[in-house]
Symmetry: C2
Subunit: 121 residues, 2 copies
């Protein structure tokens, strides 16, 4: 299962790709929860998101988020640890991520954004 996980460089991250990622409810929920844990562990595993959808569908969305440059994935054992590419995104699109996250937080109920329970690292 140890495959090369392709990540775009900072400069390769494109605005439309990022916007597209954030327009999907499942992907927004993933980013939202990753951001919520940014100050603590920072990294989360696929299994933490099983509340959102099925395994294979999540793998699909994770790939999209990774390929669009929104998050970084590293393999540790059988697990995948993922975190937001906060610095790259802030550098590339200043203020964008914060604005989206703040709006998402404000609209969390309306958007039915789930706050997931996470396993401890």
């Amino acid at each position: 299962m140890s495959r090369i996980l392709p990540h775009p460089t900072r400069e390769q991250i494109e605005l439309p790709g990022v916007m597209d990622c954030l327009s999907d409810p499942i992907r927004l929920a993933i980013v939202y929860n990753l951001a919520k844990r940014e100050k603590e562990a920072g990294e989360l595993r696929c299994g933490d998101f099983y509340g959102l959808s099925g395994k294979s569908n999540l793998a699909y969305h994770f790939a999209k988020l990774r390929e669009a440059g929104l998050m970084e994935t590293r393999a540790v054992g059988t697990a995948r640890l993922m975190k937001l590419r906060r610095e790259d995104l802030d550098n590339r699109f200043p203020g964008l991520l914060d604005a989206v996250l703040a709006s998402a937080e404000r609209d969390a109920e309306r958007l039915q954004l789930p706050v997931l329970e996470f396993t401890e690292a």
Copy 2:
């Protein structure tokens, strides 16, 4: 042709709908050009955007932008005058539009965002 053009109220504007609008290259180009003219006339007509795509396809994208709450349309004679719903968007999603527009401006070449010639009001 004078039909009721439904606009969402400020409160009805949803984040995913806005993000989805801005992830499409044609719609981003429309918003980008509307913003560029914000300080001057503020309002633009359908015909100003014929450089982007065909008439009927533009009508489709205009409807999406209007229904998502990104712009406002009013009929004047046979023309449709459109402008950004800047205040509503800034109120609902503070900093979002500015962040997107600033990033779009920075990446204008890469995104091939066309700066259109506009007719004078």
